[in-house]
Amino acid sequence: MDIPFNVKERPDTGLYNGKLGIWFFLASEVMLFGGLFSAYIFLRTGVDNWPAGTDYLDVPLATLNTLFLISSSVTMVMSWASLKLNDFKKYKLYTLITLFFAFAFLVVKYFEYSAKFAHNPPYLPSTNNFLGIYFTMTGLHVLHIIGGVLVIGYLYGPGSKMWNSDPERFTNRIEIVGLYWHFVDLVWIFLFPVLYLL
């Protein structure tokens, strides 16, 4: 039995089910990260002296990571647009570039975290509230990047077979994972200035 409204839009919502589903999920994600941003405001306004991000963090590395993420966002939307234009080869190319930028982000993050742990004395989440909220927020964000890489990787590899059997549904899947990926980019757009610069 086919699951209804995978491709066609439901008459009442005007959307195919997967798209409404991802927006509900993103709404819950806003609340998840919103809770942490709220905690950040609470911690920061609760003390007289909040450390500057530059005291602990590497701004050039984070700037590079910001550029990686916005680059991955544009290649992600280009991969969807390629499918809309029936160009599967370009879809593959743009998705591969998206994965490359995502991995580059993770590698830079690895070096960032390693430098914190290798510092003498080590900078740990337990060191102070600033580092506690930094590791919590960026750690949760990294988990989202890893989740995105797994799904995008699947749709680049074995999952891409669906293009031959049901191209419209496959294009919708790319739109859905794209929405998730842009959201992850959007969270970083706020994390970067809040933690590193302000």
Partner: protein
Amino acid sequence: MTPEEVKHHIKTYVLVFIALAFLTVVTVAISYIDLGVKGGIALGLFVASVKASLVACYFMHLLDERATIYWTLIATAISFLILIFLPVGAFLAQARIY
């Protein structure tokens, strides 16, 4: 969406990408300008909000979406604002105690 519309969108995506890269440089640059803590935070968050709006409007296609999604996002925004302003309420309560 017709192929012509998609091609038109692709040009927009490239322009948005250039704008995002430029605004990232602006975000870093203003952190080096001494605007005071409040001024720095206000300007930094303003630029971040512009960047986030570009991603949401163009990459996530929110400029041209169904009402169901807009209503979902309005409910989310209200809940998010309550969450963000909770600390303010906590401080006002603290001020009354002391």
